[in-house]
Structure formats: structure tokens, C-alpha cells
Amino acid sequence: MKTPIHLLAVALIALALAAPRVAAHHSNVGFAVETVLTANGVVKEWQWSNPHTWLILTVDDGKGGQVEWAMEGRAPSVLLRAGWSRNIMKAGDKVTVHYSPSKDGSKVGMIARVTLADGRVLPNAPPGD
């Protein structure tokens, strides 16, 4: 049986969309580090990667739609000592993120803190650091 070409195309596009998101990684200087904003959203993806982690977040845009934010976190080596882990969040979790906005106005933020639905607070540095 021959697979119709349009089904193949759909499958390829689906594969491309499902491929792991590769977000650009930034230096701290890309963010307004002394401005901290809040976003409430739903976790789309939690990437436990070096040199920075990524929290892909779906946020209501207030107009009936949704926007996607890429929240950049510190390295696993630091976050491990601050109580985070590879499995601390999963797709579908509701979270509150305190973040610094990107200087270029893109929907990218630098994580200051994540608050989980159960009230646990994940700071971006180990206690006392």
C-alpha cells in the first residue's frame, strides 16, 4: 500500500513540531536582571539542560488566546542544590514564575523563582547563596 504524499507531509510536520525545542542560551546581560515580573502559566516543557535549563510556559494572553514564553533557568548543577530536579515539573503543571524580561522584548525571561501549584517555592540559588 502506498502512503498518500499529503499524509507523509503531515507526519513530517508533526515530527518537526514534536522535536525538542532548541532555545538560544543567553548571558545574564541579555536580561533586565533588576526587573522582576510575574507570569502564571502551564508547563509545556521542562528542559534539564546545560548550561541553562528551560521552562517552556503557556500563558493566557488576556484576550482569549495563549502565548508561549521561554523561561531560562540556571544550570542543573546550581538548581540541584536549590531543591530542583529533572522531574520537579512536567507538562500540564500550573506554575507561577518570577522572571526578568529579555532586553530585546522577545518572550524570553530569566527565572528568579518558580512556585509550584502545591505552594513549594524553588529559588534560583541554593539557600544562603
Binding site: E34, N50, P51, A75, L80, V121, G128
Partner: protein
């Protein structure tokens, strides 16, 4: 064939014991005094210098999520990281730069304020280099043998080796600058004295303070108190610095898991996506 009497056997045995004891004593006298052992994993006490004094490494076992007491929400954070774009000028504690190197710093500051990561070499996964790497922002592992001490930085998995066997930098080494440079050391009592040469000119002294290819680094490393390692650093650079710059880094030794384990950093995972 010699036949010992009981007395002769006892005398011979005593002679052997005395001889062994004498050899042991002489051996002890010729052995150098015991050196402190710096081996272990440390966390920085003042990674960002005097401006952030009191930022201590966490005590073991405190890395747990913070749960606010009921009805007591945590105050919102006021920043995500220390400001590192130079927009407030240079700290009085920072190295004093000669005019051409101050101009280089100002140009990089302007680029950083605009949001460019171009001058952030560590974000590009390059080694921080000496002496910046001794800030050991995330953690440090020291491995020590009689002839060599190796310092490993958790941030960017960076390494430096300090040779203690009396070797000296050769012309070939001096002609081949590297991020960590070429370090030789010797003991003065309980203090390890280290000199570093052959350093690349495209790293930073601290922050993003530039320097020339004439920079050298002198260090005195010792236990300031049990479990607290101190590195007194003097940076000399006749081209870039008005006068040698001195700083002191301190590190707390971690005593058990999980804090005495460094995690793989593997910065290159994010390479190619820096902007």
C-alpha cells in the same frame, strides 16, 4: 654453618631491632614536614567579591525547596542575578585600568547594556581562565599529589594544574599562552605559593576587566581556619593595570553528600545557540 647459642640469638635479635629503629629515626629526619592536604570539594564564600560579602556557600543538606509558612508569603524576588553590564561604573575594589584598557572595558559595557552577550566568554562556554576562574562561582574540586595540585571549576568544567616538582616554564611554554596559563608552586610552611605565566590576553581578571599578554598571577593558598581555604591573589600587568591588583577568595570545604559532589556541566550542550 654457624650455630647460635640462646644468648647469641637474643643479642642478634636486639641488634636487629636497634638497627631498624635507627633507620626509622634517620628516615623520619630526612622526610620533609607534613604538608596540608587541600584535596576536597569546596563552595565559594565570596564569589562576587567584597560587594557581596556574606554570601556563603550553603551548609550541607539545606538544598530543599522552601515552603512558606501558612499565611506568610515570601516577599517577591527583586533581581534574578547581580548586574553585570557595568552600567553603574567600576567598583572602587576593581582593578585600576590604564586608559587604553579602561576604554576597552567601556566599549564592552556599552555592548552589554544593549543586551549583547558578545563579550561574555563564559556564556560562550569558554574557560574563565586565570585569575577569574578562582572565583569558582559554582564549586571547586582540588586534587593534590606530592608533585601536582589540580583545581577544577564546576562552572564550564575548567581545569588548572600547579606543578610542584620544580619544573619551570620553558620558552616554548611561554610562547603558547592558554586560559589557565602555566602554574608552578612551592610550599612555604603551610602555605602554597603559586606563580602563573603564559596567559591568553582575551580573558578577564574579574567581571569583564580586560588585561594584556603581560599579565602574571601570584597566589598564596592556605587553610585560614579548619575547612576554610584562602587564596590571596596578586595580579600584575604593567600594560593594563595602574598598579598590581590584590584580592582574596575564600572557599568552604564540603563535608558530605550531596554538597561534596560536583555535577557535570557540559556547557557545549548549549553551544551554537548563543546569541
Amino acid at each position: 654453618m654457624l650455630i647460635f647459642t640462646g644468648l647469641a640469638r637474643r643479642t642478634a635479635a636486639i641488634a636487629v631491632v636497634v638497627a631498624v629503629a635507627l633507620v626509622a629515626m634517620l628516615g623520619a629526619q630526612s622526610t620533609p614536614p607534613a604538608r596540608p592536604d587541600f584535596s576536597g570539594v569546596y563552595r565559594p564564600i565570596n564569589p562576587f567579591g567584597n560587594a557581596a560579602a556574606g554570601r556563603g556557600a550553603p551548609p550541607a543538606g539545606t538544598a530543599a525547596p522552601t515552603t512558606p509558612a501558612p499565611g506568610q508569603p515570601l516577599p517577591p524576588p527583586t533581581r534574578t542575578a547581580p548586574l553585570s553590564d557595568g552600567s553603574r561604573g567600576r567598583s572602587p575594589d576593581a582593578p585600576q585600568l590604564t586608559p587604553p584598557y579602561l576604554a576597552k572595558w567601556q566599549a564592552m559595557s556599552k555592548s552589554r547594556v544593549a543586551g549583547s552577550s558578545e563579550s561574555d566568554k563564559v556564556a560562550q562556554c569558554l574557560p574563565p581562565g586565570m585569575p577569574l576562574m578562582m572565583s569558582m562561582f559554582y564549586g571547586m574540586e582540588v586534587m593534590q599529589t606530592r608533585d601536582k595540585i589540580t583545581f577544577f571549576s564546576e562552572l564550564n568544567d575548567a581545569l588548572r594544574r600547579v606543578y610542584l616538582d620544580g619544573r619551570k616554564p620553558t620558552p616554548a611554554i611561554l610562547d603558547d599562552p592558554t586560559y589557565a596559563g602555566f602554574s608552578t608552586g612551592h610550599w612555604e610552611g603551610d602555605t602554597l605559593v603559586v606563580d602563573t605565566v603564559a596567559l591568553r590576553d582575551d580573558t578577564y581578571i574579574e567581571g569583564f576587566t580586560p588585561h594584556s599578554d603581560q599579565m602574571t598571577v601570584h597566589e598564596r593558598i592556605r587553610f585560614a581556619s579548619p575547612g576554610v581555604l584562602e587564596d590571596r591573589i596578586v595580579v600584575s600587568d604593567p600594560k593594563a593595570l595602574v598598579k598590581p591588583w590584590e584580592t582574596v577568595k575564600t572557599y568552604r570545604k564540603m563535608t558530605g553528600p550531596p554538597d561534596d559532589q560536583l555535577r557535570e556541566f557540559a556547557c557545549a550542550e548549549g553551544l551554537g545557540h548563543v546569541r
